[in-house]
């Protein structure tokens, strides 16, 4: 082989320059260890509801194994239209305003690529889901992060947005309930954001994948606010609330022209989402209330447990109100998030994700997913207590 042949240099610049997800690095370490309690899993520990699995088998037997319409089965889009109208308060025409995708992941990519010209700025808030910045860059956009803060309960305010908006800002990307902070926005927060969006004439992509998982108050969607539906791409999917991560099924709802634009990319790159997963989604929508409520009740109990356990351990933590993550503040120990997480993993065999995986402003925080059984949560909190005590002892030994 030619020594001067550097393949790395030939990789597209925007791909080369984006670091691997911090989550992946951490995964590589955790996966070499045994008997680890993992609070670093961003997916439900529940099984996909049995009726969904059973009817997927039936669909397979019946031969639902072919390409579907690019947009997805019309029957599914009709069911989605009804569900979104009822749950989120916005009407979408199943014929041309709903696109079924391979997870919200694909929908995010489509939405960004459909809207962004090179150099357009995308406002988004950090800490946030690990993919946002990279997806904006892949779409040749300019990511502009707005930092949410623990003192505001990690909520996004108009003032924060005003400080970062520019004439080149084209899109605002939102995710509430939020991964990794568990923050939600209420009606008033959203109204202020809607006013900001109208004033600056922006488009919005709203990733509401955790919408069903709120514990203190019902979710309010941006698309239910006046005028917002017509300038928003609404994203949702089945991974979280239905515990269907492996099915890879999501959808985008947007005004017809935007749906058509996303569909163009989807058609050429993906063709259609898996036929079986679409059948599974249709079954999942047949009785969403029961399936989801059981899981939400259990997550709420765990949320209460972990919030109270962290408080007793003296770790400040914004009360998580949605999704299944707690995001405690570990700054007083003077360790970086990564060092803390690594030591905690090595010494106590508990995996949590360093806050920096979700943006630089996650430094000093950890993401603890409570999508894990109570027994593991209890044991993890016991070990955390032991670990914190050790850190305290070291600290006093170091200063005396």
């Amino acid at each position: 082989m030619n020594d001067s042949l550097s393949l790395r240099d030939r990789i597209a610049r925007q791909v080369r320059e984006i670091p691997r997800s911090g989550i992946r690095d951490f995964f590589d370490i955790v996966s070499t260890m045994r008997d680890v309690i993992s609070l670093s899993i961003g997916e439900p520990d529940f099984d996909t509801p049995w009726h969904v699995r059973e009817s997927t088998v039936f669909a397979l037997e019946r031969g639902a194994t072919h390409y579907t319409s690019n947009l997805g089965y019309l029957e599914l889009r009709r069911a989605l239209s009804r569900y979104v109208a009822r749950q989120f308060g916005a009407e979408y025409n199943p014929e041309n305003e709903i696109l079924v995708t391979v997870g919200v992941s694909e929908a995010l990519d489509l939405a960004l690529r459909a809207l962004i010209n090179p150099g357009d700025e995308v406002l988004y808030h950090e800490p946030c889901y690990v993919s946002y910045r990279a997806l904006i860059l892949f779409a040749h956009g300019v990511p502009v992060a707005v930092e949410t803060r623990p003192e505001d309960g990690f909520r996004l305010t108009r003032a924060m947005l005003e400080a970062r908006v520019s004439p080149r800002t084209k899109v605002l990307l939102l995710n509430f309930p939020n991964n990794p902070t568990g923050a939600i926005l209420d009606q008033r927060d959203l109204e202020a954001i809607a006013a900001f969006v109208r004033e600056h004439d922006l488009l919005v992509i709203t990733d509401e994948i955790y919408a069903e998982l709120t514990y203190d108050q019902p979710h309010v969607s941006l698309v239910s606010l006046p005028g917002m539906r017509d300038r928003t791409i609404f994203l949702h999917g089945f991974s979280k609330a239905w515990a269907m991560t492996g099915f890879r099924l999501g959808y985008a709802c947007a005004p017809a022209e935007l749906t058509e634009a996303m569909m163009k990319i989807h058609q050429y790159t993906m063709l259609c989402a898996s036929s079986l997963s679409q059948k599974a989604a249709l079954e999942a929508l047949s009785r969403p209330e029961q399936d989801v409520r059981e899981m939400v009740d259990e997550y709420r109990r765990r949320r209460n447990f972990i919030a109270s356990a962290l408080a007793d351990l003296g770790l400040p933590c914004t009360r998580p109100r949605g999704a299944f993550y707690a995001f405690p503040d570990i700054r007083r120990f003077g360790l970086s998030s990564k060092d803390f997480a690594l030591r905690f993993l090595r010494e106590e065999k508990v995996a949590v994700v360093p806050g920096t995986a979700f943006g630089a402003c996650g430094e000093g925080f950890l993401r603890c997913a409570y999508a894990t059984g109570m027994e593991q949560l209890k044991e993890a909190m016991r070990r955390l207590g032991r670990f914190l005590q050790r850190l305290e002892t070291e600290k006093t030994a170091g200063t005396s």
Binding site: I23, S38, I41, E43, R293, N304, G373
Partner: protein
Amino acid sequence: MDPAAPMDGTTVSGSTLRTVPVRLPANVDHGTIMDELLKILANNALESRETIARMLNLPVAEVEARIAEYERAGIIRGYQAILNEDQLGLDKVTAVIEVKVTPQREGGFDRIAERISRFPEVRSAYLMSGAYDLLLFVEGRNLREVAAFVSEKLAPLEGVLSTATHFMLKTYKHLGVLMHPETPDERLAVSP
């Protein structure tokens, strides 16, 4: 054994060893029939009072008081472990018996049902709609013992018209718990 008992909180799992707690059926609106505390206990009666208190955002003393109240009121009637008896290889058979009875004047079905329920061999007893009236789960050491119970105790009772006895061969699921090894957690250890 107490097969297929309805979710009445009388038999609860000792499931601290299990990472997968018993799940109540999702198609019933437990919100209106059972409070959160009872749901937790029905899933795992060994859950510590401290943990329950945290899960419900209540003081420990309040949790204890409410459990005591449920016990006093007879809503919680006991705590049992859920056993995989097949695995124990016990000298034991369980029969499911359908019984037709004539309701009695004044007592209706209750009097005869209670009379039958008092036999220690009868582990569970239900009043049913449909082709027969009472459904019993009866235990004995062997077929002969159960047959003797039916022919000597049950069938001769005044009011019992007929019985049909079925023996249970294998338990797949008991009180909401699958008896055979569950699939391991296949999730990756870290995910976004």
